[in-house]
Symmetry: C2
Subunit: 324 residues, 2 copies
């Protein structure tokens, strides 16, 4: 069962994927999104494909189809590489059971990993200022993973431990993952939060209303540059200008040691219609052109630290290399 995230926050719709194509379309249309969850969903998709065709060709076709769904998050490639590595050497008759097992394993691992990310990031919420004022962008909570989330994992852990936390949630145009998904998640968990438009985040930081920025990542390059939801770069600039620490939280599977820096990370461009209308309401005159890049690159120099399940490292070539 998967939560159809395109229906949140107004409806909690559970879908059931039964074929490879269900999984591939579910990832493409962003029923599931968030780099870690995309990886888990891809393994699930491979397992579904193997039910129909567990041959070498069937496995290769499934991996090929899923790899083409979304280009930026490297967790997708990481998960599919793992499927090939672990499943291809097996006898055809063993692959389906092994694929199902692997889908469970990556889901459990993801939850454990995210909890470890959260524990490693807890010190970023320490200090005397209460409530801790956190700013996040997009959704890097449990909806983006299997459990806990990445950027929100320390928030949930702190909240459970009784530490007062308040989260500034940036709307995250054009798909409003902040306003729709992060606000929904935090509301269910009882974590105090306030939504602002993306453009207001600079104003918040200039006025000392943010103690720490916590964001996720879709791909981390070998030099520490980070691809994340479009708008992350602007928030990192403001944090840097205002002396607010800016942390990127992600599992090590989000690191792409083969990508030297952010300039060569492929940036997904999605359909202009996502910009031109919201919930069926046109926001522009008819016939208006729009462009819609889903991600941007935040240069390593603006990042205070990268926090994975193995702890915090600086956003430098040395820091990233230490996680190989």
């Amino acid at each position: 069962m998967v939560i159809d995230q395109t229906r949140l926050p107004h409806a909690l719709v559970l879908g059931k994927w039964t074929t490879l194509e269900d999984a591939a379309r579910g990832i493409e249309t962003m029923q599931v999104r968030g780099a870690p969850l995309i990886g888990v969903a891809a393994v699930h998709g491979v397992a579904l494909a193997l039910r129909d065709d567990a041959s070498d060709d069937g496995l290769a076709k499934a991996v090929h189809r899923l790899r083409a769904t979304r280009p930026t998050a490297v967790n997708l490639a990481w998960a599919l590489d793992r499927c090939e590595r672990e499943l291809a050497p097996l006898a055809v008759s063993e692959r389906l059971a092994a694929g199902r097992e692997l889908a469970l394993v990556v889901a459990v691992e993801d939850a454990d990993t995210c909890r470890a990310v959260g524990l490693a990031a807890l010190p970023t919420l320490s200090g005397e200022r209460r409530p801790v004022q956190v700013l996040t962008h997009c959704n890097a909570g449990w909806l983006a993973t299997v459990e806990w989330g990445t950027a929100l994992a320390p928030v949930y852990l702190a909240h459970e431990a009784g530490v007062p936390v308040h989260v500034w949630v940036s709307e995250t145009r054009p798909r409003n993952q902040g306003a729709a998904l992060t606000a929904w998640e935090l509301g269910r968990a009882g974590v105090p939060h306030t939504v602002v438009v993306d453009s207001a985040c600079g104003q918040l930081m200039r006025n000392g209303m943010v103690h720490v920025c916590l964001v996720g990542a879709d791909r981390i390059a070998a030099n520490g540059d980070v691809a994340n939801k479009v708008g992350t770069y602007l928030k990192a600039l403001a944090a840097h200008d205002c002396g607010v620490p800016f942390y990127v939280l992600a599992p090590t599977s989000t690191i792409d040691h083969d990508t030297p820096d952010g300039s060569v990370i492929p940036i997904e461009e999605r359909d202009a219609s996502e910009v031109l209308a919201l919930g069926g309401v046109a926001v522009t005159p008819s016939g208006t052109a729009a462009r819609n890049w889903a991600f941007d690159i935040t240069p390593a120099r603006l990042i205070t630290g990268i926090i994975t399940e193995r702890g915090m490292v600086p956003a430098t070539t040395e820091g990233i290399a230490s996680l190989r």
Copy 2:
């Protein structure tokens, strides 16, 4: 007759104000918006008030009511100060005619001033790169003034002169003045343009897709700090980081020599409902809290130059003082 800008881009609705309260409510509800136009509209409102009551008390009440409509744009205070200065000394019997005359004068002056701003800013569009790639925020076109606009004035002049120009229009949440108003204006004038979400502007500049940023202003402090539509600060940070020139275009009536720096400019906070829904479509779970600051402060150090009807000056205390 006024264009009700809350109905654009889907309907061109002309309204007629007949009372002071029509004008005051029209400014408050943003039927008219844009710092220069607010100033012109306020003088128009005073003239309407004088028709009902041209006494000292009537003039004072009108000025008081209009001054309370919106706090950030100093053009409003500038226009109302001018009404008091020019109308209060007159005999009561002369005030209505003089008020009507002044409303016409400020409108004509505004158009002349904006054209002069545009001419002074034309050199920012020079160079060999064609089309010139301009990025603007919010709406600082003719809808924000009487004619020409401020930030868009050089764009219109260049377009009329046959210089190829393309404008990146940032959506400008939460009221979408970019997507709704600037796109509408540019479309009517035949100027090529493309809408992007506010968050995409950093990505555009990082990729060399913007040659110059042109924005308007709601108030310019004595040290060159600028209050403008929320999100301007983030764009200025990205421009600075990417080596893109960032110009603020405004009439000298937008300069507040009595405000030492941006930290003391009052920032209007508008209703949270503007963030929570768009065109009647809720973007957040019900019960979600939001904050909605309409403006932010861009520090002078990020501004390449301030261009008024008197030419360009640096965004410094000396530069601003030279325009006294």
